[in-house]
Assembly symmetry: C2
Homo-oligomer: 261 residues x 2
DNA sequence: GTTGTCGGTTCATTATTTGAACCACTGGTT
DNA sequence: AACCAGTGGTTCAAATAATGAACCGACAAC
């Protein structure tokens, strides 16, 4: 990776739980020499991708992203296309729905919708990066991606986020096969306790899987009937998005559970 | 400037009128060697700041900005702070209001609000870069910035966007002085014909002028009374923002026109 | 065919990036 | 006051990465 990539990777250190970082923090967390960090951050700052906040001189994401995001949404109105699909899915199931995208080798949550039906619901946050191995979105994307990404992801350490998280690369690899055949992924409490979710793949025009639509409910609420409904809604929503983004939805055998679809 | 800065500058080639560019376009418009462009774009693409669209292989702004923008808004809720202030200004004057920011040496429109009172109104676009010399926002920011920025901006060629655009650096410099004394800038048809606008400066905690709040109306509608109201609303809104962003509003002598404020 | 474009690649030359050590400063602790 | 551990930021020779003219294959127009 070149210098540009290294600089941009520094941006990944900023997360919703750690939105501001001092120079030494940046160096520590990235493993890059402090002097180098300083130079790179200075360049990012000159463009406005980060800014320094007085008086601590900590860095945070800068205002340049506003222009870029507005331009992106104007060029590719993903979010405005996604929203109605999510709303439909939430209204159908009564549960939270979200779309995440494969960007820069990570799964980023880009949009979500809540249903109004229940007092409890799964809460989601914008700008969140989802782990591949512990979420239905991550798994379904991984299952439909090339072996290169799979090898890279499963080669990394796989932290157990809950007692239910599967961390054995071999067993995950086996699951990916199942997911590919089924056409959707299921996750029970592997990312957060008591969250039961299903995710279906969204394909781009070239046939790559670049996103996932997921539906998540509190685990205790998932009856067999709701389960079927959630799966069907996830598949339907994902296929809608695939169509609207110019891709071709996969042909699916129609098992009993997807009759509703 | 280092490699990182050069790469990021390529992002500026993408505008709302030219949202997609081929490799050769990028090279031509930036003046950078095609091979270098290719390498830089590849690195930007790896992070997701740009993406390539099939089958033309043109580049456009990528999905990574979504995460960054969401994170930015979460860390620094500029847009959500700005919006109510803009609404207040539009309701008071019945005209469009917008806020632009100084980012990376450019003036970027970051948020706007329309009033409902009239059938005609000044239309604004998100993600637009405003010229310093031909807009009230640009002028008021320039007037309250350091001599370094002024020298740089006035040293560049100043295109005449309309017959009313002032393009003589010396005369602009003189105007900046007036603007600084008055505390606001006025522009009549210098950016777009028939648009009459006023802008007031927004200051950050260190006292730098980092943004401007502007109010724009169709020129034919600007009576002396509306004029006073627009100026007062711009000053009031700008001072509000300065306060909310942690700065200290400038003390102003209170001329007759600002009594309403 | 010929010509001109496109996106992308190659590789010797060149210029930039890199990082250990260093400074100046701040806020605790002894 | 002296000391220590931390901060953000700077220096400069050595190492490494960026650069760009020339090139390739593909496509389109003529």
């Amino acid at each position: 990776m070149g210098t540009v990539g290294k600089a941009l990777e520094l941006l990944d250190l900023f997360t919703r739980v750690r939105p501001q970082l001092g120079l030494s923090d940046v160096s520590r967390h990235s493993g890059v020499n402090k002097a180098t960090c300083h130079r790179l951050m200075t360049e990012l700052q000159a463009y406005g991708l980060v800014e320094q906040v007085e008086p601590s001189r900590e860095y945070r994401i800068g205002p340049a992203v506003l222009r870029l995001a507005a331009l992106r949404e104007e060029t590719v109105p993903y979010k405005s296309i996604v929203q109605p699909v999510l709303v439909e899915a939430t209204e159908r199931t009564g549960e939270s729905a979200h779309v995440s995208m494969l960007v820069g080798g990570r799964v980023e949550l880009i949009s979500f919708a809540y249903a109004q039906r229940h007092g409890t619901r799964v809460i989601l946050h914008d700008a969140e990066t989802l782990p591949f191995h512990a979420t239905s979105s991550g798994l379904v994307i991984l299952a439909h991606s090339g072996p290169a990404l799979q090898k890279e992801v499963l080669g990394r350490p796989l932290p157990a986020l809950t007692p239910q998280t599967e961390t054995d690369p071999a067993r995950i690899r086996a699951r990916l096969e199942t997911i590919r055949v089924q056409g959707y992924a299921e996750s029970v409490g592997a990312f957060e306790n008591d969250v039961h979710s299903f995710a279906a793949p969204v394909f781009a025009s070239q046939g790559d899987c670049i996103a996932a639509l997921a539906i998540a409910a509190p685990a205790t609420r998932v009856t067999p009937a709701l389960r079927d409904e959630m799966i069907a809604a996830a598949l339907k929503g994902a296929d809608d998005l695939t169509l609207k983004w110019g891709g071709r939805p996969p042909e699916r055998a129609a098992p009993a559970t997807i009759d509703a679809y």
